[in-house]
Structures are given as C-alpha cells and as structure tokens.
Amino acid sequence: MIEVSQLRVAFGADENETIAVDDVSFTIPEATVYGLVGESGCGKTTILRCLCGLNRQWSGSIRIAGKPVGPVRDLAFYRMAQMVFQDPYGSLHPRHTVNTILSEPLLVHGIADIGARVSRVLAQVGLGESFRFRYPHQLSGGQRQRVAIARALILEPRILFLDEPTSALDVSVQAEVLNLLRDIQVEQGLTCVLVSHDLAVVANLCNRLAVMKQGRLVEELGVADLMSGRAHGGYTQRLIAASAGYDRALVSLDSD
Amino acid sequence: ATPKDVFVMASDLTTFITFDPAAANESFPNELLRQMCTPLLSLDHQDPSKVVAGLAETWSNSPDGKTWTFSIRRGMVFASGKPVTSSSVAWSMRRSMKLNLVTASLMRDWGLSSPDQIATPDDHTLVITLTKDLAPSITPFAFTNHRLGAALDADTVMAHEKDGDLGAGWLNTNVACYGPYRLNTLRAQEVVILEGYPKFWSGAPAMKRIIVRHVPEPGAQRLLLEKNDIDYAKSVEASSLAAMVANPDLRFQFKPRLDSVYLALNQKDPVLTNPKVIEAFRYLIDYQGLSETVQKGRAEIRQSFVPAGVFGALPKGEDPYRLDIAKAKALLAEAGYGDGFKKTILTMTNYPFPDLAQNLQQNAAKAGVTLEVRTMATAQLYTLMRSRDFQMLMAVYDYDYPDANDMALRMAYNPDNSDAAKATNFLAWRAAWAPGAWFKEQVETAQRERDPAKRTALYAELQRRHMQESPIIGIFQRLGAMALHKRVKRFDYNGAEIFYDTIQKD
C-alpha cells in the first residue's frame, strides 16, 4: 500500500542545514499497522508529513496505493489518506464547533448529506449527538482526540497517519483511544502508520515497526519480536529496557 | 519685556518664498521687503492717497503724462559701499522684465514692458516712458511699489548669479536694496531679523533691530504680546479682539484696508448668468448682521468695489442692498427658479470665510437655493480660480494702489473673455464675466480723465452700474487691526502699507 524508498529530508540551507530524515526505505502492506519509534527529534513526524503531503521538500520516492506521488497532492489523494495529529488541543480549530470541524472536509470535497454523515461518524467514535455543538474547549482531551479521529474518518480514507495519537492523554483515556483505533482499523481494513515513542503503545497497535535514530532507520522488526524482547540492535534493547521503569542499578550517571 | 530699541513681533513665517523684488508676492515678506527696499516714491505714512519722495527727490511728467523724469537723491550707498544711482533702479526694472515674474506682470499693467522705455541720461536722472495713456494723478502710484521702483545693487546681485538666473536664487533669501533696514538673519519657520541702517537718508530708525519670531498660532501670539515678550502680534483672532482691546496693556490701531471681500458667480454657469439670479444673491447676504457680529471690528460694509478712503470711492453708506429673503425669492421666481437650484460655493478655510459662506448658505436655503460649502486652502482656491473651475466662490482681493483705477481694472474690465486669454489678473475674467463695451469704454475714459471731479463722477457711475449688473458682488472692506503693546508709541500704517522706520517705543 505504501512504499517509501530512499526518503531524504533536509531543513535549512547551507551551513545550518539539518538532515531530518536520511535514506529511509520501508514498505507497508495493505490493512496493516506500521509503527515508527525513536527518540524526540529523530524524524518520525517528518516522515509522516512527507507521506501526507504537508512537507514538500523531500527527495527519494514514495508510492501510495501503487502510484508514485509527488510533493503536491490532489484532492483524490486526501480522500484516500488522512492524518491524526499528536496534540488534540492544537489540532482542532478553537473557534469552530465539533459540527463545523466535521463538516469542513465534506464541504471541501463537495460531499452532500453532511448532517447524516456527521452523526454517523460521531457515533462511530463513541461520541453522542450531545457533543455535536460543543467547542473544543468544552471537551476533554480524550474526547478531542476522538473528534480528531472522526474528522479523519469522515472522508472514509483507506490510509490513516497517526502522529503520537495518545501521548498527550492520560493512561485511562489513552486506553479508550487505542481501543477505538484498533476497532476501526480492523473494521475498515485501514492501513495505518503510527508514530510513537512509547513502545507499549506500538506493541498494542502495530504489526510491524521501525526503530529510528537521528533520521536513520536502524532496525525493523515484527511485533512478536518486540514483545519477546528479541531485538538485535543495542539501541532498541536500550529503549525496551528504559520503558520498563526506573532501576537505579541500570543507569550510568556519567555522561554529557 | 523687550528692550527699548528693539522691536519684536510675532508672525507666521512658515512660507517665505522669496525676497526678490522681481518675484515677491506674499503679503508679509513684502511688508518686510518694503522696509529694506525704498521705492522711487513713497505713500504718505498717514494718508495713502498722497505720494511723497522716496529714492527720487523730485519727479515731473511730460504734458501727455507718458514720460516721467525722476531725480535720484545723492549720497545714498548700498551695503556694499556702492552708490545708489539711476542705473541701479533701471537695472532692477530691466531685470524684472527679463525674469518675467510677478513684477513683470505688474509693470505690463502700467504699460511698461520693454527695456527701451527706461533711460538714464545721467547717474541721478531716470526717465521712464509709459505706453498707456493714464491720468498723471494715477501714474506715480506705480513707482510707490517697492517691487517695481526699488534699486538693486547690481554688482552684488550679479556676483551671486548662477546659471543665468540674474541672482534670483541668491535673492530668495538675501536683500541687496537701499532702505532704512537691512536683512540680518532669515530663517523660515524660525526668525527674521532686520538691522537698522543709521545713515538712511531720512535719518536713523529709532529701532535698531526688528525681530520677527515665528509663531503660527494666534493664541500663542496673544499670550506673548500680553507678557510683552513681543511688541506686536501680526495675527489677531477675531474672537479675541474685544478682550484684547479691553486690556490696558495693549494698544490697537484700526485702518480700513485696501481690499474687497466679494462673492463671485461664474458666468459659465447658465443659471448664474441670469440677471435676476445675480440680483437675488445680492439680497441673500446679511451685510448688516454679519458686520455687527462675525465681522465686528474687522470689516465694514462696502458693496461698491472701490474701498473707502481711496480716490473715486462712493461716499460711505451708499450700499443699496440688504438682506431681503422675500425679495430674493421673488426674483428667483421671476427668473424661473421658484423651486430653487443647487450650487457649490468655494471659500477659504481661514476666518471669516467659513462663517460668511455658512451664513449665505442658510439664507439661500430659506429662498430655496441649496448651497454646498467647500472650504479649502488658499493656494488650492487660486488654482481653481485660474482655471475658472467653480460655480460660486467667496474670497477677498487685495488691491495694489489706492486709486479707483486699480479696482476698476480688476473688477469691471475684461477685454478678452476667452479661456485662451488667461487674463487671470482680472477678476472679471476669472468669473467669466464679459462686462461689455460700456464698461470698457467707461474704465478707459476714467483712466485718461485729468479732471478729478469728472473722474470721480465716472467712477461713481461705473460702480453703481457694476453693483447692478456684475456677477462679482461686493460685500465688505476689511479693517486692519494692529495689536501692539502699549509701550509702542508710534507705528505707522496707512491702510495700504506699514512703515517700520518711524516706530517709537518706550
């Protein structure tokens, strides 16, 4: 469904050029969830933004649904692929009601039958009609993220890009959202790319994952390997260890 | 308080275009220039209709009144040390002709347009031949104008010549004349200082210095005057007049001025050419009311065009029109405008024009005529006048010399009314009014007439008919009010000119 090869992204020019993504290639089969993990600033979000057309400065090749895509995408592309952002507080327009937010994609794509579709998608993400005319600030974080997911789903896409969809949420809410994503993905056979720095979250949703470090893809492994801790790279091992919690004995103090 | 031998005044010095006698045309710079450039002849300090000696000690004319001979006073020297001679005057006149600026236009009015008309048989004799046939009582006024009849120090001026400008650039901010004062400092927007010339022929001026401070705001001028930080405030607000007159520290001098406040109806406008409409407007002005309120102490009614105190003026009180709305209405109805019409009236932003125009507007409204008032800066108004691009306008005209001939030429004379003629110096042309053969004949006859009594009669007839027919409606003659500190004992003003050389002060 998605094929990326030799993707390279650089920001800035001349001496302060930073290479955010360097020679990254991977393939994602249809109806699977692919995870991207790594530390802050390693380029996860950048890859996602390239995939969905928000970032237009890249080189390499991207094929989606079998067709190569360039930096600028057409409307049809956006009907096929949608994105959910990391911060539900920032990704909803603060002055639009839920209804307006959800109608907007339909208006853009000239799809009729707005009222019914909005109701349907609200039900789908587990929000009742009572939320329809609220402003984002009247919603909790989890509810906001549901609205964001609903906005992505209302165009009935086949691909969903998820940028840390739960990292701004409490554990209890995170569970709800993860379950919801899981259900929808299975139900609609969506292809998803999930970016997260929480290995447990990745393990919960993904079929395969890639570990990134400083713009490079250092390891690609299946979820079973992750669960059983069968990672090859030392870096991946360290990530796995760190996610287990604090252990004084494991930490070396001297660095920096 | 100001020193005893220094005279300090406040005025608006924002624009100060030039001190060049060939080009100077603004009123205040001209007033200053007059103190530094004594003309051939001078107006009497008290009575503007009397001509007395200036650079010329004596003068005489040929029997036909066209050739004038002046004998120039001896012993006068310029600041450079060079003597003042007849050729200094001649040079300065020829220079003006060559530059063809305002003064050249003025000279043409007198029939003086060619250098050959000026001759200098010797250093102290100047002979000028005019082409116009004028009564000998009028002509001397030409030489009382300091721009026309002054002497320039040719060598000094030519030493500063640049690109063939005959020293015009230098003379913008310098003076090279002979007079009771000399220019010490000139800084536009700040100060002008004149230095007394002790060896002036009629004696050293009592004031060693004249300092003019730039104070654009009349209110501020008044405050300075009341504190005696100045001796003379150039701008007096109408509203302050009463209170200032009542102030025992201040002293006022009033003199009728040489001007006319008028309403002009453009004769290119078909409605306004109707004689009944013109007459109706004469009845729509509240002469009485305005002169007693808005213009109190600042102007007197004068519906004829020659100001009071000038040769040829009608006696005081011969002002036939007064506000009569019913009559105006009737006239409009007769003219076929019973339902009224709509016109725009232009006027200046400064006192008292907005008030006068608004008053007219109200009266006109009562007679069914809608007037839209447009106030604008004076420069803008001139531009529109020049292009005759207006319907009605209300303004004031300053005359040049105190003889009815000047007024008659401006107000009742327009030999060529075509657009191409561009006779912008005739008010009749500006109003697009072609007065007709009778007026032309009358003006030209009066100009030639040597018998004063007959001349007076001719002008009286001219003015009376003008008041009936002309679309230029006379309203007021302004009063000059000089606000002085009481320490100023003498400050001569004859209505036409102000004289600094005789200022006396405690």
Binding site: V171, E176, R182, H197, L199, A203, N204, R238, L250 | -
Partner: protein, 287 residues
C-alpha cells in the same frame, strides 16, 4: 537519620478557582506528610497534583483561593506566613523543580548566574563565592565541564542538561524539601532515567524530602518510596511504592489495568469505569 519524623505535614488543604459556572475545587481537603523519603503523587490529568505542590509554596496562579488547617514545616506553620516571610521559605527550605527546562529557565540569563543567584538570595556570599558554589553544584549534578556550561544560555543546553541545571539551582540553597512536578516527562526515555538517578542520589545522600509528582504509574512505583493516588482533588489511596501493584482502590486498579504493556501485544485494554462515589467517599487514614 531520622527518616520517620516528617518534614512537612499538611492537613486539610483546599484549592479552588472561582469561575462563572461556580467554584472549581481543584484540591479538596487533602492531608499528608512527607518525611526524608521520596513520596510520589500520581493521578490523572486535572486531579490537582500540581495545585497541591504549588499550594505548599503559596505560588498558586492568580484567582485561586486556598485554605489549609495546618501546614507545618518543622516548627513553622506555613499557613500563617505572610508573603515576605514566605520568601525565606521558598528556595531556602522548600524548592520546586518544574516540568520543562526549556521554559523554566530565564532565557536571557546565563545558567550559572541563575544558579548563583539562588544561592545568594539566601546566603550572605560574595559573587565569586556564589559562583564557586554554583560550579561545585554543577559538578554535583554530573555536568562534565561546569565552567563551560556555567556561561551558557538556556537555549544552548539540551533538555537533560537543562533539567540537571534546574536540579542544581534548586538544591544549592540546601532545602529540606523538594517538590518535583513531572520533572522528567519532557525528556527522552533514556535521558529521563539519568536525570532521575541524579535526583535520587542527591536527595538520598543529603537527606532531603522529595515530593514527586507524576502521572506515570510505572515510573512512580519504581522510583518512589511511597505513593499517594489522587482523584478529583482528593487522595483516594496511599501505599508504599512497592505495593502499588496490589493497590486496593478500584481507581488505582483501573489505572494500572489500562496501561498497555509490551508483553501483552494486541490485547484489548481495559477501560477505567469511573464511579461517582469515589469523589466523596471517606479518605483512608494516614498509612
């Protein structure tokens, strides 16, 4: 070490925010004590953790109202102290580490000066002396080249280093108690552990009390000695950290259950069902 005599005892602390929809009670009558150990406070977002920490220092945001029956720091009752008296408590006796070093350091001041300033407010010391102490402190938080780091500006240091600087700044006046409000949640997983280790070491060796606010149950259970669980402005349960996984309160259990685990794979997560009675049920007695 007199680890069981509490440094701070708080009794019936309340914090409220008046709003058009009535007063929002952020903290509703909580009582606890902190000794010379690491006390973790966990709870979901908005449960009042930060407000508790700030109320102790009397640094509540404008508009907040608070009341407390007693708040004893040693012999002093903080409840009765005026603003100027609090100046002697803040930093000197209690200090606080904030979440994000990127925002909590003054961007236009060199970090060394910020540390030295913290020392000089509470100790009569010359500038040079204070700087000397600051350098020592930087070394104590395991910064390798203290002299160089001393003269850096906050934007020139990494997140992990920034948080160590923050720790140095807060420890330099030698307080008795440190409140750490999510001190590591802005940091990367691997860096996070290093910072925690430094904090752990300094607190333990100097015998300082630590109030550790976090929403990461995993972390708190492994890092702290004791855990308080907050829900809707109240403490619903308290237990030794090691026993957190045997917690009794359904809220705590729910939180634990909803945590995804690496080894569980695609298992459906349990979702916490909130019981309205938790808001007002009696608070368990001091442990």
């Amino acid at each position: 070490m007199t680890s069981n005599s509490p440094i701070l005892t708080v009794e019936d602390l309340r914090v409220g925010f008046p709003t058009p929809r009535g007063t929002v009670e952020a903290v509703r009558g909580i009582s606890f004590a902190i000794g010379r150990n690491k006390v973790g406070i966990v709870g979901e977002s908005g449960s009042g953790k930060s407000m508790t920490g700030r109320a102790i220092l009397k640094l509540l945001p404008g508009g907040a109202t608070s009341s407390v029956k007693s708040m004893k720091l040693g012999d002093t009752d903080l409840a009765g102290l005026s603003e100027s008296e609090m100046l002697g408590v803040r930093g000197k006796r209690i200090s606080m580490i904030l979440q994000d070093p990127k925002y909590s350091l003054n961007p236009v001041m060199r970090v060394g000066h910020q540390i030295a300033e913290a020392f000089r407010v509470h100790h009569r010391a010359s500038k040079a002396e204070a700087e000397e102490r600051a350098l020592e402190m930087l070394a104590a938080v395991r910064i390798r080249d203290p002299r160089r780091v001393f003269s850096l500006y906050p934007h020139e240091v990494s997140g992990g280093m920034g948080q160590r600087i923050m720790i140095a700044m807060m420890l330099i006046p030698e307080p008795e108690l440190i409140i750490a409000d999510e001190p590591t949640s802005a940091l990367d997983v691997t860096v996070r552990l290093q910072v925690l280790a430094i904090l752990d070491e300094l607190v333990t060796t100097r015998g300082i009390g630590l109030m550790f606010i976090s929403h990461d149950l995993n972390l708190v259970s492994t890092f702290c000695d004791e855990v308080l669980i907050m829900y809707a402005g109240r403490i619903v349960e308290r237990c030794p950290a090691a026993e957190l996984h045997q917690a009794k309160h359904p809220y705590t259990r729910g939180l634990l259950a909803s945590l995804p685990r690496l080894e569980d794979g695609h298992k459906r997560l349990r979702v916490l069902e909130r019981d309205p009675s938790w808001r007002d049920e009696p608070i368990p007695a001091e442990a």
